[in-house]
Symmetry: C2
Subunit: 144 residues, 2 copies
DNA sequence: TATTGTTATACTCTATAACTATA
DNA sequence: TATAGTTATAGAGTATAACAATA
């Protein structure tokens, strides 16, 4: 339970990064989740809400709220899928692209702060090791 | 904003570890914060609430709730400081020690899962690098 | 009947401010 | 007047379940 454990370090650092990013993004009236959503739309193009659910790993009702916010801010838009009118296709707007760029600048700043005491080689090493950490939720055997 | 950044990795991993630990500890009716509190009491002996506030970095009202829970569960006890009757001295009980041991077992399990794909040397390296990451809240110049 | 998305609701965590008692 | 701790309350964030539209 002490602060030396990797799990504890991850918890505390993750919490701090989240709080910091949340505070910075609140200037735009957005949260980290809004940012992830725009980021995914930018990388993958128009997407159904279902696939956003998979990527963001949030409750459907949470995604509805996120998309409502993005639509009200003019950053994204929902359209009916003509092939299956139950589905929505979510697409980001030009304004959304601009907002995403601003947000990426914000997180770049945080990133530089986090890594201020590490050499570039150490930072790469850290990135590599972190990507090898197995997220508890990842365990393929669902038996718990 | 993509998942490659260290900050994003920390956010996601930290969130997962927290969720996992919270779920496991709910068996005992406790949260990670209860665990940290007991852990600090174990390492440092009887402590004033003020110094717990510094270590846990929570709002005073949150600490009150944590200590109420621990007292109701018989895991810790508040006593008046005879030298300054405004102060409370918080002390863990034998039951508290037993509960802490159980919780440490839980987090050890999570820790092993997290590091399952890393060699012992990699795990040490990761621990070392993480401890060099500067938490955004740490910045000594409060100007923001 | 099953699926996509939505709404309404409740529950947890946290933050704020007002309060008590001691100094 | 200032400090240690407490209480009451409100605000986020999230999860649950019931619902409408479409397949």
């Amino acid at each position: 339970m002490d602060g030396e454990r990797v799990g504890m370090l991850l918890m505390h650092l993750g919490r701090d990064v989240d709080a910091r990013l949340r505070r910075q993004l609140s200037v735009y009236g957005l949260t980290p989740r809004h940012g992830f959503t725009l980021s995914h739309l930018c990388d993958n193009g128009p997407t159904s809400q279902q696939s956003l659910l998979d990527v963001l790993d949030v409750d459907p009702s949470v995604l509805v709220a996120i998309l409502n916010d993005l639509e009200n801010a003019g950053l994204a838009e929902r359209k009916r899928d003509p092939e299956d009118r139950r589905r929505h296709i979510v697409e980001m707007s030009e304004q959304g692209r601009t907002a995403l760029t601003a947000m990426q600048g914000t997180i770049d700043t945080i990133e530089r702060e986090l890594l201020a005491d590490l050499s570039p080689a150490d930072a790469d090493q850290l990135r590599s090791l972190l990507s090898k950490v197995r997220s508890p939720g990842d365990t393929s055997c669902a038996g718990d």
